[in-house]
């Protein structure tokens, strides 16, 4: 069906998408790269001299960068561990015969549809607030001292909030994968005397490995860019204790008006995201052949 004629028509149909995405990639990226070599601050108008790698040296040697990098890794790693372990357990549970499975599923996936600013503020005020929050009430009820989550454990609190948002995603994908597991093979293994743990580690986990990889990669892409949750809960603080890379670049550029420094940070963020992206693309690319 692919004649010469339909081929050129096809090219014509793809070109708007390709041109738009190309422009969206190339124009801002080259500007970011260009700005990152300039001394360019919006508060100091005038010439923006070329300064070579000065912005990079400044950004990479800033103690805030190191702590932001650590925080980014802890945030991404923490959320990944919680959502994948939780997701596997939840998917196993939801795969069991029960009454009202559809309703439970709806309850479990609901947090994914809550906008980030809402979930962050609801957790911050109504649960984690040390005076009126529900956690404070529970602590008092148990005779404990209320704990000021966002002041004393800001990063852990944000990890909790973000995990709540992403647990549904992991669960849903792992459940979808689990439902394609051949139940006859499972039963055969059981008849042969494989216990529940053996079946889990030798049959379920290998079957899920592909879905787990997809969850890790996709969540990482999104988690590297966590922003709104930090903005409305801690503003990156106290100090820089809950500042991730995205938030640091935002603060550098839109709060300090340092276009040059912010751009250098942006380039660093792009490089880090690309390392993850390469792995993800390989996975999906392989699937495209199959």
């Amino acid at each position: 069906m692919s004649t010469q004629h339909s081929r050129s028509a096809a090219r014509l149909m793809i070109s708007p998408s390709v041109i738009l995405l190309l422009a969206w990639m190339i124009i801002p990226l080259s500007l970011t790269l260009y700005f990152s070599f300039l001394r360019y601050n919006l508060l100091m108008p005038g010439a923006n001299p070329f300064v070579g790698f000065e912005n990079y040296t400044y950004f990479l040697t800033d103690p805030a960068f190191f702590s932001a990098l650590t925080n980014t890794l802890v945030l991404v790693g923490g959320v990944l561990i919680i959502t994948i372990v939780g997701g596997v357990l939840l998917a196993l549970l939801l795969d069991q015969p029960m009454w009202g499975q559809g309703i439970v599923r709806i309850l479990v996936i609901a947090p994914f549809f809550v906008m980030p600013t809402v979930s962050a503020l609801v957790w911050k005020n109504m649960f984690m607030n040390p005076v009126n929050g529900l956690f404070a009430y529970m602590a008092k009820f148990l005779g404990l001292q209320p704990f000021d989550f966002l002041a004393h454990a800001p990063l852990a609190s944000i990890i909790l909030i973000v995990s709540w948002q992403w647990l549904p995603f992991a669960t849903l994908i792992l459940l979808t994968a689990m439902q394609s597991l051949d139940s006859e093979r499972m039963e055969a293994a059981e008849m042969d005397g494989a216990g529940p743990l053996a079946r889990f580690f030798y049959m379920v986990v290998p079957h899920l490995s592909r879905a787990i990889t997809v969850v890790i990669l996709i969540q990482t892409i999104f988690l590297l860019s966590v922003f709104a949750e930090i903005l409305v809960t801690t503003n990156g603080g106290p100090g820089t204790s809950s500042t991730n890379l995205t938030y640091l670049v935002y603060a550098q550029s839109l709060l300090n008006f340092d276009v040059g420094g912010g751009s250098a940070g942006g380039v660093v963020a792009i490089i880090l995201a690309n390392i993850v992206a390469i792995f993800l693309m390989r996975m999906i690319g392989k699937n495209l052949d199959a």
């Binding site: 069906m1 990226l29 309703i103 994908i173 139940s183 922003f227 709104a228 751009s263 942006g266 995201a273």
Partner: protein
């Protein structure tokens, strides 16, 4: 051959699953409940779950005081607008890649996906400065443009995986029966493509509605959607729990309902077909 499941086991699983489901859903439930309380009851100790004086005054106050309708309309225009424009651009592209695949099709698809991996913060400054210079900062148009572009790869990919499943044989059969290209598109292809387009649209509206990087950074007073409206409650105003809850409930209700309808497409759309 499924074995008979013992009733005991089924009861246990039901109880555990419902409890955990309830626990995960609880923050949302609590928000909705609190939105119907008075401010005093919202911070009462011990907290009351159902036995309080139900009131809808918070909804009235939030709508009146903050011009809620305007934020809501901004959210609708931005999410629906960017989705529709995205579909108009994406349908032909996905269509031709699914039905007239060439040598480069796979590479184009992968490259499109790679643009999605660009961290937004890496291009924040240029976009901000360009928008400032051309007067697109804090406008609905500006946000529609950005959200269309960031979601375009997802739209194309989702459509592609759906179109790919339409059997080409049917087209040939229709052609053998003497259908013209026009009739082929109207009577054979469109009915089969509509469900995929509809699911893509639904998921994309959800993603755009909840997008909270660009909507927070590129808007101020005029074009701010609900994400930014809620973010304004991070000031001490957020300590008015009942009003925060009413505002939050109104911001998430429409999308929560749409989300429940699209849960199957979610897996497919967000994993780019890697998990089905």
């Amino acid at each position: 051959m499924a074995r008979a499941v013992t009733t005991n086991r089924k009861i246990t699983m039901t109880v555990i699953a419902w409890s955990i489901g309830f626990l995960i859903f609880f923050p949302i439930l609590w928000t909705v409940l609190t939105s119907f309380k008075s401010e005093a009851e919202a911070i009462a100790s011990p907290p009351s779950f159902v036995f309080f004086d139900w009131t809808i005054e918070n909804y009235g106050i939030v709508m009146e005081r903050s011009n809620y309708f305007r934020f809501f309309m901004n959210s609708v225009v931005i999410s629906v607008g960017s989705t529709l424009i995205g579909l108009i651009i994406a349908v032909p592209a996905a269509w031709s890649m699914a039905f007239v695949p060439g040598k480069g099709t796979k590479n184009i698809l992968m490259w499109m996906l790679s643009t999605k991996m660009l961290p937004p913060v890496g291009v924040l400054i240029p976009i901000y400065l360009i928008f400032k210079n051309v007067g697109l900062l804090d406008t609905r148009t500006g946000l529609v443009i950005v959200l269309t572009l960031i979601n375009l790869p997802i739209i194309i990919w989702m459509l592609y995986t759906y179109f790919k499943e339409i059997p080409v044989d049917i087209l040939e059969a229709a052609r053998m029966d003497g259908a013209s290209l026009r009739n082929e598109i109207i009577y054979v292809l469109t009915p089969m493509a509509v469900p995929g387009i509809a699911s893509t649209m639904l998921l994309n509206i959800i993603l755009a509605w909840n997008e909270a990087f660009w909507t927070l950074n590129l808007t101020a007073a005029n074009a701010a959607p609900l994400t930014a409206f809620i973010a304004s409650y991070s000031s001490p105003e957020g300590l008015f729990y009942a009003k925060l809850s009413a505002a939050s409930t109104m911001a998430i209700a429409p999308i929560l309902i749409m989300g429940w309808f699209s849960q199957k497409q979610l897996v497919r759309g967000l994993t780019f077909g890697a998990v089905k």
